[in-house]
């Protein structure tokens, strides 16, 4: 098993169908589970989209206000107040 350049012998009894080229979680010399590359890439893609969607559509204040049944706060006014307090 190649650990980013360091090679070590690993017991594959618990993941017997592991193929060369796949990634796995290794603990104390035993492969315990295959790493699902598809899932890893999907998760990272969700994280990337999270910010982008938010930049485009996100309005947390608006959402919070909506959930609370309140009018959306005047953010510019709020920022000025905060600045004044400092």
């Amino acid at each position: 098993m190649d650990f980013g350049g360091v090679t070590k012998e690993v017991c594959l009894e618990y993941v017997p169908d592991l193929q060369v080229g796949e990634y796995t979680i290794v603990h104390v010399g035993f492969a315990l589970q295959r790493l699902d590359e598809q899932s890893a890439l999907e998760t990272l893609e969700i994280f990337r989209q999270m910010g982008e969607l938010d930049a485009e559509f996100g309005d947390h204040w608006g959402r919070a206000a909506e959930q609370a049944g309140m009018p959306r706060p005047d953010l510019d006014g709020l920022r000025e107040q905060e600045g004044g307090a400092r």
């Binding site: 650990f3 980013g4 017991c11 009894e13 618990y14 993941v15 017997p16 990634y23 979680i25 603990h27 104390v28 010399g29 035993f30 315990l32 589970q33 295959r34 790493l35 699902d36 590359e37 899932s39 890893a40 998760t43 990272l44 994280f47 990337r48 999270m50 910010g51 938010d54 996100g58 947390h60 959402r63 919070a64």
Partner: protein, 376 residues
């Protein structure tokens, strides 16, 4: 390394933090169960990046920390025997027993060896047929399958000079113990990703339902931990309490069925004491009847040993999340990683050691502290 660096990306971390910040409307206290997660949180300063309303309570998921003093004392007694080669993971060697630690036994002539894997101990047993090789089998559901496989192999090979000193523990009963404690402040759990890698997620829906707490299976890299927290905060804010899997690249609902079958064959569930916490019903494993002959406790007849915890050390409260490490008066003064009073200061997964190494301390800078901080 692939799929490690990607999950440390600072820009994506910021996006997760922004979402957590935008979602949080009031104080929430959640517990990260695993010591590996505690280490990662403190190392990367994640707790300091979170909104003030989010409190992370460090859980008891450090195997070295919760191994009872009595078991350490049994290890010390076995390791001191002339016929024994005593093998252990390195971090157990400095864990204080009642009077000494394994290092002290080694310096007094005991044959104590640090191994990377239990299979290394098995190899020693084959190479030294005239010696008794004992492996110190501690740990949670993640470490139990390798140890189970090792005992299974020993039997298959007919190795009569190999045995296991077992002190395995299980996460779900610990969650139950924490939630039923009268001083419990935990409102949600980040479940230990690598435990679930083996066991799957099937044990948790009942706990989430019974105690009304969100349980989010969480990984160990900064983005994994932030995503676990983010999903937990969403559940808490929306009044949900479900089991979610935020570590899907290695955790599936069924876990690793081959490993679970091996666990059930080699081990059986027993009540176990946790250092600093006390007895938790059904919270551990010992060798099953079929494999009992490989039990070092029976082989070496190490009887009950009376134990005395340090009266200064407050690791029990740290392990239960009642105090933060630096709130203990011994932290960083009487108790340091080089001279630990309790196990939480020994293991790299212990909360006290993590706080000490990453400079979360408000104590006068001693020589040792300077040295450590210049390394860190």
């Amino acid at each position: 390394m692939k799929y490690l660096d990607e999950f440390q990306d600072p820009e994506l971390a910021q996006r997760l933090l922004d979402d957590i910040r935008a979602t949080t409307t009031r104080p929430w206290a959640m517990m990260e169960v695993c010591g590996g997660q505690t280490h990662s949180i403190i190392r990367h300063g994640l707790d300091q990046l979170l909104p003030d309303d989010i409190e992370l309570i460090h859980g008891p998921g450090c195997p070295v920390c919760v191994t009872p003093l009595e078991v350490i004392d049994k290890a010390l007694e076995i390791a001191a025997r002339p016929e024994v080669i005593f093998c252990s993971f390195g971090d157990m060697l400095r864990v204080p027993g009642s009077e000494k630690d394994l290092f002290r036994v080694k310096s007094a002539g005991g044959d104590v060896r640090v191994v990377y894997s239990p299979l290394d101990a098995l190899k020693l047993a084959r190479e030294n047929p005239d010696r008794q090789v004992v492996f110190f089998g501690i740990g949670f559901e993640t470490t139990a399958p390798p140890n189970a496989m090792t005992v299974y192999q020993a039997r298959k090979l007919g190795l009569e000079n190999f045995s296991l000193l077992v002190s395995h523990v299980r996460v779900p009963p610990a969650i139950e113990a924490i939630m039923t404690s009268p001083v419990c402040r935990v409102q949600a759990f980040l479940a230990a990703g690598h435990v679930c890698t083996v066991m799957g997620t099937g044990e948790y829906p009942e706990l989430a339902e019974r105690f009304g707490v969100p349980i989010v299976v969480t990984g160990f890299e900064p983005l994994d931990i932030l995503e676990g927290i983010r999903r937990t905060v969403h559940q808490l804010e929306e009044g949900r309490h479900e089991v979610e899997n935020a570590y899907a690249r290695v955790v599936s609902e069924e876990g690793n069925p081959v490993a679970i079958r091996m666990l059930e064959d080699v081990f059986e569930v027993v009540d176990r004491s946790w250092r600093g916490i006390g007895m938790i019903p059904q919270s551990g494993w010992r060798l099953s009847e079929r494999y009992r002959e490989y039990d070092a406790e029976e082989r070496f007849r190490v009887g009950d040993i009376h134990t005395q915890e340090s009266s200064v050390c407050r690791s029990g409260e740290v392990l239960q999340g009642l105090i933060k490490p630096h709130e203990c008066s011994a932290f960083g003064t009487l108790c340091t990683p080089r001279n630990p009073l309790g196990a939480t200061m020994v293991s790299s997964e212990g909360a006290c050691a993590a706080y000490y190494l990453y400079r979360r301390m408000q104590v006068p800078t001693t020589g040792e502290a300077r040295e450590v901080s210049s390394v860190g």
